[in-house]
């Protein structure tokens, strides 16, 4: 289980994440929604240990990410919103490199790397340098690399950005399959349709605070909307007056 305890991140003039408390259960697919600049990426970065919180902590299976980073990080796989990778390595080299980062080596790893390249339709580019890949290909490679050590928890920041419809369909299938295997997925997204389709629970974050939490149905109740889709709930909770302001 991932426990987020009173997590806060303050920059000089900004409270990016403000006292967030949240528990993500094992086998759950949790979506984090929020407008641009709401603090989603900062929150995810603190969960995976990329950023140090100003206060609070993240506990992964009983291990603190700040106090026991090495053992807790073994359980995580992270996919950032932008696929920055080593451009001078080939796709296959990159996957093996990432496996080595997680202390995995040997023939089995190369086999697994090739399987993942196949899964993400990158086999034909396995021995080409990544600098020649398109944005979507790099994004798929990062997905493959995050799965190479078969993490228990997958943390994904904006998974659908840069993917073509085929890639999105594939990703949805992978998420469903991982869930079946008991893996936990935490993703931040702007794609409300996908969030509604896939998620067990949804959290809405705005101005660094978690303002709503629950299943799609529970969120409808919190927003006081009957039968609306997630978009109307989201707008109601985050930009209540947006439509009126725009006079549309």
């Amino acid at each position: 289980m991932i426990e987020i305890r009173s997590l806060t991140k303050v920059y000089t003039n900004l409270r990016a994440v403000d006292n967030v408390n949240l528990e993500i259960k094992e086998g759950e697919l949790f979506s984090l929604l929020g407008p641009n600049g709401a603090g989603k990426t900062t929150l995810l970065k603190m969960i995976v240990g990329l950023l140090y919180p100003t206060s609070g902590d993240v506990i992964i299976d009983g291990k603190s990410i700040t106090k026991e980073p090495v053992s807790s990080k073994k359980l995580l796989g992270f996919i950032p919103d932008r696929p920055f990778v080593y451009e001078k390595l080939t796709g296959l080299e990159y996957l093996i490199f990432v496996a080595n980062m997680y202390n995995l080596d040997g023939d089995n790893i190369e086999k697994r790397a090739r399987e993942l390249l196949e899964l993400f339709s990158l086999t034909n580019f396995a021995n080409e340098m990544i600098e020649g890949y398109s944005h979507g290909m790099k994004q798929r490679l990062v997905f493959a690399s995050a799965m190479i050590h078969e993490p228990k928890y997958l943390i994904v920041d904006e998974p659908m950005v840069g993917l073509d419809p085929r890639g999105i369909t594939l990703l949805k299938a992978i998420f469903r399959s991982m869930k079946k295997k008991g893996k936990t997925i935490l993703m931040s997204t702007h794609d409300l349709y996908i969030a509604e389709q896939l998620s067990d629970r949804i959290g809405i974050i705005n101005e660094g605070r978690l303002i709503a939490l629950g299943t799609a149905q529970q969120l409808r109740e919190q927003a006081g909307i009957k039968g609306g889709n997630l978009e109307s709930i989201f707008l109601k909770l985050t930009h209540e007056d947006l439509i009126e302001e725009l006079n549309l």
Partner: protein
């Protein structure tokens, strides 16, 4: 046209004045530059005063020195512009934006030209200015000298920049696809041959050793021998020397080719851009297959070399080695390193030690000991190019390292190991070779090698450490990473450490050397304090290494990945 410079100007201004920390850095940088400037000026001035007092050949030596300095500067400027223009004209992030904007290729050429010229020339110009000013003040150049210095230096730099950029544009057009590696090799070989031939033509060692000439007339004739009139460095030097000797008409004669070539070659740059740039740029977008594949001999060697390291360290080293040899902007810097070592060793073999009229064995050992300082300087220069940028080279992929279940000290260890092996090889080879040439005592040989080994380890650790403390994760050109406040701080710290260690070791070494040379005995107390002083130098090296490493790890931890 001005609009094209605005983004660069604004971001430069914001970087400088954005925070108090940056302003402090700016002041620090200014003070350091002023310090360096003053030391270089004093050194050159002292040398000029000494030469100007030497009858007959003094003025000729002064003239020759300026020709040599400018000849080297010219080649350095051209090479530096070639390297910079690859990124400013072909790989910079804003190129697609500029090329899609409604501007002419001429405007594009000039906007990039000025950026390239400033980026690749400021350091060499800064290095040259104290020399030119010293010539003006010591040799009473007068106001005309300074005015002509500013003007002719400007045109001199302009010619070098245009030459470098034109060479890049043509070579990128001729060579297929994204073959910067081959292109760089091609250019580097040309530059190398140029420098080598230049050195052989000038043969600077002869001027230090007049006895090698058959007679005085021969020596003077060599000093008098004219420089190639086709080289911009000759025009520049001759303009300056003419102004010093108040022969203004001669000065104008040399200034005219400088100005006309500068204008002509800049126009040629525009013409070259129209002719070749777009085709070359299009070719540069093609992808390429990776060399040095995982199944090759190279990879197997890497496995053997890193056999005893942890998997994480091994992976980082392998990745860095592969990236290094696949990235021309990284490996091409090896050629600069090669040139540095070549000049160093060449100068050493040319030392006129055989002709010195007093006990040479004593002097040779002293020279060998202080040569450690020079060797450490070379190692610092190499470490600035390679060890310092190594953490920054993780670039925007630092996130991957930070989310992986590994201690960050392992990252520093990997980077140190990766740099240390080649640096140790170079350092020991330099010390061994120069000591061998000098024919020093065995004791001095061992002491030099051990001290160099410890210093190289410390310099490498400090290079990697300072690089992590002052990182530049978003860079356009690898060479830019070390060219900032952090790079300067590292160089000062490294040279400071070298100086402290050498000063501490000089006392016991002198005592031991005296005992060896004159067969003097040493008592128990002598041995105790000699050991204590050596121990002190080892402790200082270890402490500085560990301090920088700890600070580096702390900085990476709080860096947003």
């Amino acid at each position: 046209m001005r609009k094209l410079f605005n983004p660069a100007l604004l971001s430069f201004r914001r970087t400088l004045f954005a925070s108090k920390k940056n302003r402090v850095k700016l002041v620090g940088l200014f003070l350091m530059a002023a310090g360096f400037f003053s030391v270089e000026y004093l050194f050159i001035a002292k040398m000029l005063i000494y030469f100007s007092k030497t009858e007959l050949i003094g003025y000729l030596l002064i003239e020759k020195m300026l020709y040599m300095a400018n000849f080297i500067f010219f080649f350095m400027l051209v090479f530096s512009n070639i390297i910079t223009s690859i990124s400013t004209y072909y790989t910079a992030d804003d190129i697609p934006l500029l090329l899609s904007a409604p501007i002419t290729l001429e405007e594009f050429f000039y906007s990039r030209f000025i950026q390239t010229m400033i980026k690749s020339s400021w350091m060499i110009v800064l290095f040259g200015l104290p020399i030119y000013i010293a010539y003006g003040t010591i040799l009473h150049g007068g106001i005309v000298y300074y005015l002509s210095m500013v003007a002719s230096l400007g045109f001199f730099v302009l010619i070098a920049s245009s030459t470098g950029i034109i060479l890049t544009i043509i070579a990128t057009y001729i060579l297929p696809a994204r073959r910067f590696r081959e292109f760089m090799l091609f250019i580097s070989i040309i530059v190398f041959i140029g420098i080598y031939i230049g050195f052989r033509i000038i043969r600077p060692e002869r001027f230090l050793n007049p006895r090698s000439f058959e007679n005085v007339v021969g020596y003077l004739a060599t000093l008098h021998s004219s420089q190639s009139l086709l080289l911009p460095s000759t025009w520049f030097s001759s303009t300056l020397m003419a102004c010093i000797s108040h022969s203004y008409l001669d000065g104008i004669h040399m200034f005219l080719p400088l100005i006309s070539t500068a204008m002509g070659i800049t126009a040629t740059g525009v013409f070259t851009t129209y002719m070749f740039y777009m085709n070359g740029f299009t070719k540069a977008q093609e992808s390429k297959n990776a060399n040095l594949g995982r199944k090759g001999v190279f990879y197997k060697w890497l496995n053997i070399l890193t056999n005893r390291s942890s998997l994480f360290v091994k992976a980082i080293i392998k990745k860095d080695v592969l990236s290094f040899f696949r990235d021309a902007s990284q490996w091409s810097q090896l050629l600069l390193l090669g040139a540095l070592i070549l000049v160093y060793v060449y100068n050493f073999t040319a030392l006129p030690l055989k002709n010195i009229p007093f006990p040479t064995i004593y002097l040779k050992n002293i020279v060998a000991f202080f040569n450690l300082g020079l060797a450490a300087f070379v190692i610092t220069a190499i470490a600035t190019r390679f060890a310092f940028p190594s953490v920054s080279l993780e670039g925007r992929v630092l996130w991957l390292i930070k989310v992986s279940p590994n201690d960050l000290s392992e990252l520093i260890r990997a980077k140190v190991l990766y740099n240390l092996i080649p640096l140790l090889v170079v350092a020991s080879a330099l010390v061994f070779f120069t000591n061998h040439v000098l024919g020093v005592f065995n004791f001095i040989m061992y002491l030099s090698l051990i001290t160099m080994l410890l210093l190289t380890t410390a310099i490498t650790n400090m290079g990697v450490g300072f690089g992590a403390i002052y990182p530049k994760y978003h860079y356009e050109n690898v060479a830019d990473i070390s060219m900032g406040f952090g790079g300067l701080i590292f160089m000062v710290a490294s040279l400071g450490l070298t100086m402290i260690v050498l000063v501490i070791e000089a006392i016991p070494t002198y005592k031991l050397m005296k005992a060896f040379t004159f067969s003097l005995g040493l008592n128990f107390y002598d041995y105790v304090w000699i050991s204590l002083l050596y121990l002190l130098s080892v402790s200082i090296i270890s402490y500085s290494t560990m301090y920088v490493k700890a600070k580096a790890i702390k900085t990476i931890k709080i860096t947003e990945g």
